[in-house]
Structure formats: structure tokens, C-alpha cells
Symmetry: C2
Subunit: 214 residues, 2 copies
Amino acid sequence: MVASKHGFSKTDINAVYRAIKTRRDIRHFIPGDIEPELLLRLIQAAHFAPSVGYMQPWHFVRITDPSLRKNIHQHVEQERLNTAEALDERKDTFMKLKIEGIMDCSELLVVSLTSQREQYILGRRTIPEMDLASVACAIQNMWLAARAEGIGLGWVSFFEPQVLAKLIQAPEGALPIAILCIGQVQGFADKPLLEESGWDTRRPLSDILSENTW
Amino acid sequence: MVASKHGFSKTDINAVYRAIKTRRDIRHFIPGDIEPELLLRLIQAAHFAPSVGYMQPWHFVRITDPSLRKNIHQHVEQERLNTAEALDERKDTFMKLKIEGIMDCSELLVVSLTSQREQYILGRRTIPEMDLASVACAIQNMWLAARAEGIGLGWVSFFEPQVLAKLIQAPEGALPIAILCIGQVQGFADKPLLEESGWDTRRPLSDILSENTW
């Protein structure tokens, strides 16, 4: 069944759904480089994302300095421990989870909201956080492109944005929102790690969909 | 060149990049229904998105009541005028842009952040806005799936979340972040509408990418 004459071929439609359904948040990496052209394709995929008022509020810092990578990892490790404390009775379960592969991945990126975002009003007068939504769309583009290419990507959000901003010497007003770990993988698990580990389950569609009223 | 043995075929990789590069924010719709199965596929694509701590903080309300649709449109129209005033010297240019197709699209969805999100700490202790990032990833999944299916999708963010929350009778703490217009289209333009209309240009990659420091 073709839904529209502007649609892709059935095979191509399936490829897009396959990327969506088999994408995983990756924390386990195996040795192996990422070719520079491949990394560039992923960043270009991000740059093709929609952005509110076409503001393109994203910036990518590629981390190649080993000591900077180590500093980032140390900060994330501290925040992991802070999170464990905040989780209270789920602390032990959480501490068994691997939440990042910062020291093992081939490529490490810090993604930030750009500075001077207050200049942009179109589409965010009442919801200024739409800039973050745009950057998330960009990262999701990268994630799906990486999955299609067979490359793992993990989004780490265990950090204090201001601390990370200082580490990458971000300009005033810019704000890191993601540490992206990118690299070769053993494979892609059938289910999300937080489902496999019993942390939570996928909700039924009836929980997230209703008609006219909530 | 195959980057990884876990990668899709070259054809399938290209399909994913094609969806990413040819996706557009759609405000112009033509008459024509969206089959219920297709709409469901799009919502399922959204539900396969990554979410911080697996919290799945998204809820979709499908708007089928014509008077509710009209009320939503009226509120958006008011916010469009408010934005025009705030844009000052760019007001006239802005007023010529079509920013939404709420009354013309076949399917209208309101997407919200769920209530009781404060229970979720994993991955958002320091960045609570990660919930919004997750919902944006979900919408980007839908957007790419819709593009592959040849269906148009527009994300409208011209509204006061609290006003929209009342219109859909959202529970306390839930927050609408998107009105999605979905429908049949004449076609997909080569460039984003805000680029074609001269509102802004796509930044060169050198502007958004750096190494180790900003």
C-alpha cells in the first residue's frame, strides 16, 4: 500500500522504520575507528534537522584531546554517584547499570545550545525551550543515521552544564546538553538496556494516546 | 564503503539519509485523508524514540472535534499576532509567512509532556529539560517516518502551553509542547520555507563544529 505518491518505495520506507525501531542508546563500544567522512556525514545529518525559526541553535565540539576526555569522564562519574544518592532505594540497581562509554568510544562530541539565542523569537516567544527541542531533533537525526551505518551512539546527560561549558570554553550563554559517545559496537540489542535490565517497561500505546481530551 | 558489519545495505542507508535531507516543516496541505493505520504507524514511530531514563514522557491527543480544532486555531492565530508585534521591524516579512496548516490538515495532534515527571531522576537530575528533549526525538521520528511515507508534518509552537493544556483537559503538571499538523501534500520543497522566503540561511558547517574548544 502506497500512502502517497510522494512516498518512498516500500523498501525505502521499511529502511527508515528499521532505523527507528532498532536504534539503541549505546554504552558498550568495541575498538575500531570511525572514518572522518562518516563522522562528517553524521554531523551533516544533524545539521539537516528542523529548527524553530530556522535558528540552528546547535554547536558540536569534537573532543580529541585525551586529557580533556578524561576530565569530562571524571565529571560524569561524579554526577553518576550524585544520581545514585538521589535515587535512594533504587541506588543499588542503578549502580549496576553501565550509563556511558566515554573512555571506550572512538569519537566523543559535546553538543551545546549556542549563545545569543534570545535574538530568536519566531516560534519560541511563549516556549523558549523550543531551541532545546531543535537540538534534540538534530541528535535524533544523527542517531538514526548512525544506526543505519551500523555505528553506535549514546547520549549522556549526567553532567552539570556549566561545568562542561567551562571544560570546552563555551561562550557566555551557550549551554552543553549532550555528551555523545560514537563508536563501533558488538551489536544492537533487541530491547533498550533499561528494559532488558528490568529498570522499566515500554508503555502500551493506549497509555500515551487519546482523543480530544487527555 | 561499508562502515560496519552492523550497517544497513547501501540502498537502505541512502533511504535514511534521504528522509533526513528531504524532510520539511509543512504548512501547506491538500485535501485527502490519512489512513488510520498510517497515523498509528507514525505514532508508533514516535513511541520508539529514546527517552531519558526510559521515562517515555510523551502523550498524544488526536483532535477530531471540529470545534476544538477551531478553538486551537484561534489561539494560535492570536499568538501569531503577538509574535508579529514582538518581531518589531521584521513584522511585515513575518506576516507574509504561512506558519501553520491547522484548519487544512487531515490529522491534528497535540503532543505534551506527561504529568508527574518529577519522579524521574535518572539522566535529568542536573538537566530536568531532558524530558522535552526526549519528546522532540519522538516527534523527529514521526517526521522522518511521515516523509518516507510521503506525508506532510508541521510542528506548530505558536501557543501558550497552559491555554492549550486547558483546551485538551490535560492533567495538572502536563505541558503541551507541539501542535502537529499531518496531511497530504502537493510536494516537498527543495529548501526549508524560511530559507526559500529569505528569512534566514543555512549556516556553513564550520560555524557549528570545532575541536576541543569552542
